[in-house]
């Protein structure tokens, strides 16, 4: 008997959308910092200055929001606790197999939804978390190069003592594209699952509810 299950608590939905916002802003401003495509007409303008300010502002928003999400890994419900990201958790592997069957039209019924993350989703999100942490660390290193302070040093400023700033700049830039690539696939899968499994997964990140037993 299908009923609506409260999967994504408010903090999850909030941090999710804050991340989305900051990543979009960080990417746009970051791309400008990397290759200033707009030129000022007057020296009194402050385009690069503003763009860098925004980059740093959203960087902090991003850090805070991610920090809160991590905190919620210990506070949250069974869908959002850290263990929900263990791809090998019992059942997940079997479920993955069933999903394959369904999408290869071998099985005619989608598996009973797990509601939480599938094995592949868990993996993807762990990988993403790593990329996030790298962006924060490498960004902090670039920031520390200009404005050294202890907090930034701890968040990754120290990386500048291990790798050259040029190298960190390159990877800070490259990993942005890795993240944007994730987003494309991520959004599509959301739409796909929602369409075929009718589990309300897409609306869940807005409403919090998924359809299941």
């Amino acid at each position: 008997m299908q009923k609506n299950v409260y999967v994504w608590e408010f903090p999850i939905r909030l941090t999710h959308w804050l991340n989305v916002l900051s990543i979009v802003m960080l990417s746009v401003t970051g791309i400008y910092i990397g290759a200033p495509f707009i030129h000022a007409l007057y020296t009194t303008q402050y385009i690069m200055g503003t763009v860098r300010f925004l980059h740093f502002a959203f960087a902090y928003l991003f850090i805070v929001s991610l920090a809160f999400r991590i905190y919620w890994m210990f506070k949250g419900n069974r869908f959002s606790v850290w263990s929900a990201y263990n791809p090998l958790a019992k059942g997940k592997v079997k479920l993955a197999a069933e999903h394959c069957k369904f999408y290869m039209c071998i099985a005619n019924k989608p598996p009973k939804d797990w509601l939480g993350h599938t094995a592949s989703a868990s993996l993807a999100y762990i990988g993403l978390l790593v990329l996030f942490l790298f962006m924060i660390a490498s960004g902090s290193a670039l920031y520390y190069n200009a404005q050294p302070n202890l907090a930034v040093f701890l968040m990754g400023g120290w990386l500048g003592k291990v790798f050259s700033i040029s190298t960190l700049r390159l990877w800070h830039h490259l990993v942005m594209w890795f993240i944007l690539t994730f987003v494309i696939v991520h959004v599509y899968l959301g739409w796909l699952l929602d369409r075929f499994e009718k589990n309300g997964i897409m609306s869940s990140i807005f409403s919090g509810y998924k359809v299941g037993e």
Binding site: I47, G49, A146, S166, L170, T181
Partner: protein, 362 residues
């Protein structure tokens, strides 16, 4: 022997009191000390006798020596004849061969632990150091002998500080900086290619005045010279913040002195006081002459602060022309294409076979 004070020597050469104080003021400024220190420096120079200096050349290009020859306030003549007693310097000393080596030997024995050693050029360590031999002896053995008995060692230029040009990939001779071959000795590094003579002179005078070295950073560079980022003191910074960038050599922005960021300027990664002290009597410095900084004082800038004419390093494993953005965009585009392809395929699928089943599990 009779040693006379530095000021006495200067006045003997008809250097006026006024010029002398002017010189002291310059030094105070370079050291970024409050001007109240000027009299203290003057006083010290009036008392101190000339320190003995041994200048060693190893794997160098003599560019740092030439830099010192361009010193002003004090001029090189004043420096060489009045402020220091340069006992050994292969480029300008009178004697050659055995007698030259005698000059070196005399100071390091008679002034053991009491002379200043200045090192120019890297030291080859591969194959027992046979890539730099002077008077039949390797640079390695000379450096150990001279520098471990010095009161203090100053390395001039990036080669002596970290290996510099000679140590650029693939470092054919195993070239390293002084601090990698003499342990325990007191070393102050003046990287740069060449180092700025203003900074070396200022440090020497600081040493004579206060009997101590200026504050150093974690890599033994004087903070007064290496503590600030070029990008933060650059006269073109306003154009950077505004968003006014040179895009082509000789374009309008270039002629108007806009920011060289897009042309590959490494000022945002370089730490040195070039914009404030400049070179050759404050005539100019790289950015002022329209060329980006190449971070010539940075450790292994030849390989790490690269490319000189681009903003970002090349992506490892890709050709010289593929930029980070090409790679990244390609990746994202591929994903998008894959997604689109899959979407089409699966929607076809829906309308066919799987559809009936879907009805059944309503």
């Amino acid at each position: 022997m009779k040693d006379e004070s530095i000021y006495a020597a200067l006045s003997h050469r008809g250097v006026s009191r006024r010029d002398f104080m002017k010189f002291c003021a310059t030094i105070t400024a370079t050291l970024s000390l409050p001007s109240a220190f000027t009299p203290k420096i003057a006083e010290a120079l009036e008392k101190k006798k000339k320190p003995y200096v041994v200048w060693l050349h190893f794997q160098d290009c003599t560019g740092d020596t030439e830099a010192i020859l361009r010193a002003s306030n004090p001029s090189v003549a004043e420096l060489l004849l009045d402020i220091i007693s340069l006992e050994y310097h292969e480029t300008i000393m009178a004697p050659s061969g055995k007698l030259a080596e005698k000059s070196r030997h005399d100071v390091i024995t008679s002034q053991k632990g009491n002379y200043i050693a200045i090192v120019e050029g890297s030291i080859p360590t591969k194959d027992d150091g046979i890539y730099c031999v002077v008077g039949g002896r390797t640079a390695l053995s000379i450096a150990k002998e001279v520098c471990s008995n010095a009161l203090v060692n100053f390395t001039v230029g990036s080669c002596a500080a970290w290996g510099g040009l000679g140590s650029a990939n693939p470092n054919p001779t195993g070239a390293v900086g002084l601090q990698d071959v003499v342990s325990g000795a007191k070393i102050v590094n003046f990287p740069g290619c060449p180092m700025n003579p203003v900074n070396l002179v200022a440090a020497i005078v600081h040493f004579l005045t206060f009997g101590s070295l200026p504050a150093l950073d974690s890599r033994n560079r004087p903070l007064f010279a290496y503590g600030k980022r070029i990008h933060d003191n650059c006269e073109r910074r306003a154009h950077f913040d505004a968003g006014q960038f040179v895009r082509q050599w000789g374009d309008e922005g270039h002629r108007k002195g806009w920011c060289l960021y897009e042309m590959g300027c490494k000022g945002p990664e370089a730490f040195l006081n070039c914009p404030t002290v400049k070179f050759n009597d404050k005539t100019s410095w790289p950015v002022q002459a329209g060329h980006g900084c190449v971070a010539c004082a940075a450790d292994h800038n030849w390989d790490k602060v690269y490319p000189f004419y681009g903003r970002l390093q090349k992506v490892p494993g890709f050709g010289i022309e593929t930029t980070a953005d090409k790679v990244g965009l390609g990746l994202a585009a591929a994903a998008a294409a894959g997604v689109a392809g899959h979407a089409v395929a699966s929607s076809l699928k829906k309308d066919k076979d799987c559809s009936s089943k879907e009805e059944s599990n309503k």
